[in-house]
């Protein structure tokens, strides 16, 4: 088996399998060898489910041999963030409290991937219950490393998924995004990450963090694979009652449509970090110049392809998203995490509980990590009756204010009439674990360009847009209006196809990841 096959896109792999040029079992075998080589360096996985993967690959091969129809992802090896319930396969959410837990059912996204005949190879590491942007907040250490520099974070919370896809440990991955958890690690690891419209993809069976913002989406190495996965994942599901009864287009054909006349906006409010103080004063902080340059380069590519680029689009309320997101996400997290008690759900404490309440308190003490405890307590404090109006209600009103910016710029009869907004995915590239040499303000506000979309419920896609002079991937983001994933995919596809955006540096073409060598082989730190 030629191990080059693990480098192909999901689209190409499925085509080769359908046409019997390779078998699903052979491709899986090659993927497992790749994992064996790179996993000791990436630490992307919590669980590898080799036995189940082999069974599924054999089933796909059997269908093909019998001439039966197969799904669009036939035989494609994929991973899933460890927040997705997988029947009989450990699902931890990156938390000690769920260590060893075997869900009795599959999440809706897993069901759909299974129906599409994709092959689940394992569960990827993540920040505990999705709470974090570096993957350091996982009970399962060592946490994932950045494939381009192992001294740097992979991002989070879907960092394991992004690191796995970037290093060919599976071809695609399922992630979740509550404040940027798909797009930020995708940007840091040089892959594509799509956060769909809130309610576009069912979250049934996904461990909840902040329910008014949680979304499920793909992490891939190409825009076309993101479109292909969206074809599989998107759609109404009565088990998640925020999914909308909105028809699902064929994202691949939509993605290829003419870009001429597409209106692309750039906002100066997304080219700086505006730090808000409690007295109302605002301090502007510059982002990394190489990231601004990547955004401008991408805009120029789209303009050359026939898009209209509109600069100076005001998004004045973006700076309010940080405190509002902070409050709402913690209140919802507190509510969602009350279910883990060590009796009905979660690993019980072995610390001699004297009664039921003691079991609850000891199990939660033993099982939760520091960051999760802090968020629970913060959320609980802000949920108190005397602070409800001051904090929670005010944050919900701020959400309406932030959303109004997007309603205005995407209004087809308005002043801007945008189809997509182009922004950086992050204000800085992947930073070091020890934070040395990195701007602490930019680290603190790493999700500033992604969390507003969770707040507003809008879709966003991060794609590779070249590298910094240090060789670290840069991500740019296209944001669209409700259920307009087709438009952001179209813009991203053009940017990717020109090659100028990634300048030949995206992992599919990256010579650093030579077959048979460690993905860190050329890294100066190893």
């Amino acid at each position: 088996m030629n191990r080059e096959f693990v480098r192909l896109t999901a689209f190409e792999q499925a085509q080769l399998i359908r046409t019997k040029q390779i078998s699903a079992s052979e491709l899986l075998k090659a993927s497992l060898v790749q994992m064996e080589q790179v996993e000791p360096l990436t630490h992307a996985f919590v669980t590898i489910c080799e036995k189940e993967a082999k069974e599924k690959a054999r089933a796909v091969d059997k269908k093909i041999a019998a001439g039966e129809p197969v799904g669009p992802l036939a035989g494609v090896p994929y991973s899933a963030k460890d927040l997705f319930c997988t029947r009989g396969i450990q699902t931890t959410g990156g938390s000690g409290i769920l260590s060893g837990w075997l869900p009795p059912y599959d999440a809706a996204a897993i069901e759909r991937m299974n129906q599409a005949d994709a092959v689940l190879i394992g569960k990827t590491n993540c920040d505990e219950f999705g709470m974090g942007g570096t993957n350091e907040n996982s009970a399962f250490q060592p946490c994932p490393r950045n494939p381009y520099d192992s001294e740097r974070v992979a991002g989070g919370s879907s960092g394991g998924s992004a690191a796995a896809v970037a290093t060919y440990e599976g071809t695609v991955s399922l992630g979740t995004d509550t404040g940027g958890s798909i797009r930020e690690p995708a940007a840091f690891c040089g892959v594509v990450g799509l956060k769909p419209t809130y309610g576009r993809v069912s979250r049934w069976g996904t461990l909840a963090f902040a329910s008014s913002m949680d979304t499920v989406g793909p992490i891939t190495r190409s825009v076309r694979d993101a479109a292909l996965m969206m074809n599989v994942l998107a759609g109404f599901d009565p088990r998640d009652n925020v999914t909308g009864r909105v028809s699902v287009p064929d994202y691949i054909s939509e993605m290829k449509k003419e870009i001429k006349g597409l209106r692309v906006g750039i906002s100066p409010d997304f080219l700086k970090v505006a730090v808000l103080a409690s007295d109302g004063s605002i301090e502007d902080h510059p982002i990394e110049p190489e990231i601004t340059a990547a955004v401008m380069r991408t805009a120029e590519i789209l303009r050359s392809a026939g898009a209209e680029v509109i600069t100076d689009v005001p998004m004045l309320n973006t700076k309010y998203s940080v405190p509002a997101y902070f409050v709402i996400s913690r209140i919802e997290a507190y509510s969602n995490l009350q279910r883990y008690d060590g009796l009905k759900y979660g690993r019980p404490s072995q610390n001699h509980p004297v009664d039921m309440y003691d079991l609850f308190a000891k199990s939660r003490e033993d099982g939760f990590g520091h960051e999760v405890k802090l968020r629970i307590l913060t959320g609980l404090f802000m949920s108190r009756k005397d602070f409800y109006e001051k904090y929670y209600l005010r944050a919900q009103r701020a959400r309406a204010l932030i959303r109004s910016d997007y309603d205005r710029i995407f209004d087809p009869m308005g002043d801007y009439r945008l189809d997509v907004l182009l922004t950086p995915s992050t204000p800085l590239p992947a930073f070091r674990f020890d934070r040395k040499g990195c701007d602490p303000v930019l680290i603190q506000y790493a999700d500033m360009f992604t969390s507003p979309m969770n707040f507003a419920g809008l879709p966003g896609i991060s794609l590779p847009a070249g590298k910094t002079s240090d060789g670290l991937p840069i991500g740019v983001q296209f944001v669209g209006y409700d259920y307009c994933e087709s438009k952001i995919l179209r813009a991203a596809y053009i940017a990717e196809q020109t090659g100028t955006v990634a300048e030949g540096d995206c992992p599919e073409r990256c010579s650093e990841l030579d077959m048979g060598q460690s993905p860190f082989g050329n890294s100066p730190c190893l």
Binding site: G88, S278, P323, V327, P353, D355, A398
Partner: protein, 111 residues
């Protein structure tokens, strides 16, 4: 740094109340650290007060609207038995006759 307002300073007694409600049996050192960190977070939370919100802005529970024609609607309130209850029960620390067995539940006098 702005001086903390007394109303949202989290003192040890209030913190202890929060910890009890959150049902986490914190170690003493950990409690002290978390209390300090929680008070530190008030700086971000207070930024909310700087957001100019006029009276016309109503709170929203989701960013995007749900017009009636795309809404899921409420499910029928029907009991649907789970196919494999044993797969759930077997993961509880103690079980008997398909029930989860709890440690002693202390009785509390209410009111």
């Amino acid at each position: 740094m702005k001086k903390q307002m007394p109303e949202d300073l989290i003192e040890k007694s209030l913190f202890a109340e929060l910890v009890q409600t959150a049902a986490i049996d914190l170690l003493p050192n950990e409690a002290e650290t978390l209390c300090e960190e929680l008070n530190g977070q008030m700086e971000i939370i207070r930024q909310l007060e700087a957001i100019p919100l006029d009276g016309n802005i109503s709170p929203v529970i989701h960013g995007n609207p749900y017009p009636f024609d795309i809404r899921c609607g409420l499910r029928q309130d029907e009991w649907i038995p789970f196919a494999d209850p044993q797969s759930i029960i077997s993961q509880a620390p103690f079980s008997k006759d398909n029930f989860i067995v709890s440690p002693d539940v202390p009785h509390q006098r209410i009111g």
